[in-house]
Amino acid sequence: MSSENTHGAPSNGPGAGHGTASGHATAVHHASDGHDAVHHAPQRSHDGNLRVANGGRIDRSRALQFTFDGRHYTGFAGDTLASALLANGVHLVGRSFKYHRPRGILAAGSEEPSALVTVSRDAYRVTPNLRATQVELYDGLTAISQNRWPSLQRDVGRVNDLLSPFFPAGFYYKTFMWPKKAWHSLYEPFIRRAAGLGEAPTLPDPDRYAQRYAHCDVLVVGSGPAGIAAALAAADAGARVMLCDESTEFGGSLLGDVAARIDGETGTDWVAKSIATLQANPRVTLLPRTTAFGYFPHNLIGLNERLTDHLPAPAVGQTRERLWQVRATSVVLAAGAIERPLVFPGNDRPGIMLAGAAQIYLNRYGVQVGTRVVIVTAADGAYQTALDLQASGVTVLAIADVRAAAGGPLPTAARRAGIDVLTGSTVLGTEGDLRVNHIALGKVKDGVVSPGQTFDCDAVLMSGGFTPAVHLFSQSRGKLDWSDHLKSFVPGRSAENERSAGACRGVFGLAEALSDGTAAGAAAAPGPSRLTRQFAVDVEICGDDAYLGALPAPTTKPKYKSFVDWQHDVTVKDLNLATREGFQSIEHVKRYTTTGMATDQGKTSNLNAMAIVAQKLDIALPKVGLTTFRMPYTPVSFGSFAGISRGDLFDPVRTTPTHEWATAKGAVFENVGLWKRARYFPRGSEDMHAAVARECVAVRNACGIFDASTLGKIEVVGADAAEFMNRLYINSWTNLGVGRSRYGILCRDDGFIYDDGVVARIAPDRFHVTTTTGGAPRVLAMMEDYRQTEWPDLKVWLTSTTEQWSVIAVQGPNSRQVLEGLVEGIDLSAAAMPHMSVVKGRICGVPTLLFRVSFTGELGFEVNVPADYGAAVWEAIYAAGQKHGMVEYGTETMHVLRAEKGYIIVGQDTDGTVTPDDGGLTWAIGKTKADFVGKRSLERPSMKAANRKQLVGLRTKDPKVVLDEGAQVAAKAGQTPPMELIGHVTSSYASSVLGYSIALALVAGGRARMGQTLYIPMPNGDLEVEVTAPVFYDPTGARING
């Protein structure tokens, strides 16, 4: 190990003036990064030599270079960005959300609320809002701070802090109320720019993400002592075990604990041995860097595994993150506990952090977070921190204990080590601009606060005890119980096959956690444990004291804010204001003040916020209510959720057999459900309007070819097929002969049109039912429902044949001539094959089911051939059609042609409130049937009312004006809102064949309004329309029967 490494490369310059708050500002120019930056004169202690010589989990032989805000620093393999910055004396790492206050590193793990940074590899790989405490250092890492301009040290937004009297809780709601119009144009854009943290990347994410499903007997979440013990016990019983931990290394709290001994070994040695045991077991899966972010019903746990974020240069195509969906027979939650900050004036300065975090930085990363520290605590654990720090050479100025007395083994040891222990303490305030440099303690006696000692220091470490991490338990819908003793919520009744073990259920002692984990793991495993492990533990007893709410404060107004929620800048004052303004439920207080609503979800703040509200309202804390713990536990990247479902794989695409042909012809496609359908076939420079006008005229005057393969097709087969169809469709099917087809309408039992389509009888016991393109799955589901659950006695079977048939519509006066040369053994003459007939035969040498049917109003056929022959038959028909003026046409022309004939499209001209009669389709109802689905509902008075909306045609006074689909219809002209409206336009097109625009509309009492003038109110005034019959073209049907 070279001393140069510990000190950082010389080119780093004075290094870490950042954190000091001496006020001796001098400009230092860095040639290396070209930035002008102001740095405070370094104190000797901040020259980067905050790394202790030995110990910790870092590899001092592997120095890593990184930059933060453009400045170069050095860390070691095993560091996080936070520990490496601290080793360089950098505490100031960000600006707060609302007041832009300088913020440092509060914690050492995923609960970190303040130290959020943006890490980037290149322009595409930019990840904002990462907790520096979880970012693993790699060589060349580039990170920047957030929410500051122009620089972290001199931030213009800081003015918000000075203006803070004007930004109380609910500020937005109170201030930006007037004028109303200014919200969208002025206030919201400004607020959005001013608030917030990192900037979301805008370029597409080039990385790969994977997803995996897994099953196991026991999933253990968390690898602290309880988790490892649980995994060992479950594995001993032969269970299939998965053990995950959000951290790089397994071990949890043991990684930051140098005092404990398990079976005579150090904690980390015991961890290494235990993990090796688990690793050797083929039934155990170990997942480090894997966060259990969500607990879903029936023991489905979402895990997010980070695979490359710690690598200096991931291989091209290497998977960045893997989303696991693990279905576990049972789950052991060993999520640990989160240290609770103390709430006192000025508690948010850089250099003020959790005592346990300081202990982790020292013992796991070999970093002293300061040289002269004051510890403020309400629990014994911080005394171990004090002892560890003192042993490493840090001056512990005092331990200010909030409790009236501190007599446990650790306080006794601290006193024996010569540390000044001040019981009955509180904090009156701190000083230091970019880093804490002073703390003023207070004395509490009989509830009265008086000034106490003051200290010049460079770090303040605090501990309000520990809060069990019950997030996943709560997500699993387990019931939380309040523990007065622990001053925390703890897991109560489980909702799933789940057990909490160790600190996450308030079992804090190491020996207790180990045996709790062992018991949980053994109980979770399906078989009896073959081993009963017991662990001999040597550790000082820490107790389980904890503190809730704000520390005692003098009655005078404090000089500084007391922060409760670091990430959303919520203070005691904000919470008090909320209660004063009448908010009582914590759910309301939370929304009003935004406490606990930041990306950390209030991991360090929620209980203190609840306690402050409860105290103000003078009620017990559980009465304030408990906010919901939501997934994800920590943010998960969108890429991980998306997996491979992006780009072409975002959604399945269905194409018809002629898709390639249409693509080659230059078709413009539209999405219909998952289908790609050719919408029109532009030629030359045609736009859609021109192409559709040409296609329509060609079909009416010669012939056209159209791919109708997407129509849903269901075969209804069996002795009772006709009876089944009779019961389901409104039409009568008994008298439909073989070789004939009929336009069928399906209602639901509420009497409203559900679907429609041509139904052919191709054998006495066999119907070929077509449905709308989008409706095929739901029609089949409805048919199955009735078949299976209402009429199981009927002998009928249903099969989807949508994809088995390619359907080629050949429409227009020349269509018979086109097909005549291609069919074999089929007489296409009007006499042999009238409208609505269907024959089996052959075309172009392949079998066909040939329909004479028309959705255009022209003489027309639909050639059904097995899908594999679709493209070949299509091309043969197209070739044969060329001498008959055939054009290819798409869905847009199909829509215009059918609208000219007044044929409805279910879902466009109907909307779930349209009866067959409303649609002018009463003729289709089988009059002699006693019942069909929907019949009874059609008898209800409201379904027969004369003023129901009925399908009519509309013609605009100005033939060139094409109405907007969805436009409203009014009987009276010149109305202003609120208007009296009587209907709406459902279909509207320019008809090139007719030379004027046409529209279909649903209008109240429409059929009684023939010839009336109605009005379409539009932004520029009313458009006049005349009500007509919905059939605009060939009303007698002469052409279709040609």
């Binding site: 489905l300 819908r477 199955e784 659950t789 019942d931 019949k935």
Partner: protein, 102 residues
């Protein structure tokens, strides 16, 4: 994601199933003979219990069969699934499964 036991196929993830509303409602034999209120009740009124609820599910992306399930709507736990047409299993009602119209 729930795990649902299809009586024909066994335990499968929720994604394979579609929901079918309340179970044990039989479409009247002769709807034409019913008055409007009775028909409306059949069409639209459901018990919507908080607690143990008998409902229809379909293994739509599996065997395609409809079946019935007893689910505790307060916990989302399935206590039983059974074939259409068979009677509702007689399960002991616990505190959490005591149905109430809430």
């Amino acid at each position: 994601m729930l795990l649902i036991v299809c009586p024909y196929c066994g335990k499968r993830p929720e994604l394979e199933f579609t929901y079918g509303g309340e179970a044990h409602l039989t479409r009247p034999e002769r709807p034409a003979e019913l008055d409007d209120q009775t028909w409306t009740d059949f069409l639209y009124m459901r018990t919507n219990l908080k607690g143990l609820y008998a409902e229809r599910w379909r293994h739509a992306r599996g065997c395609g069969r409809f079946f019935n399930a007893l689910r505790d709507t307060t916990t989302d736990h399935f206590l039983a699934t059974y074939k259409t047409g068979t009677p509702r299993p007689d399960l002991p009602v616990t505190a959490s499964t005591a149905g109430s119209r809430k």
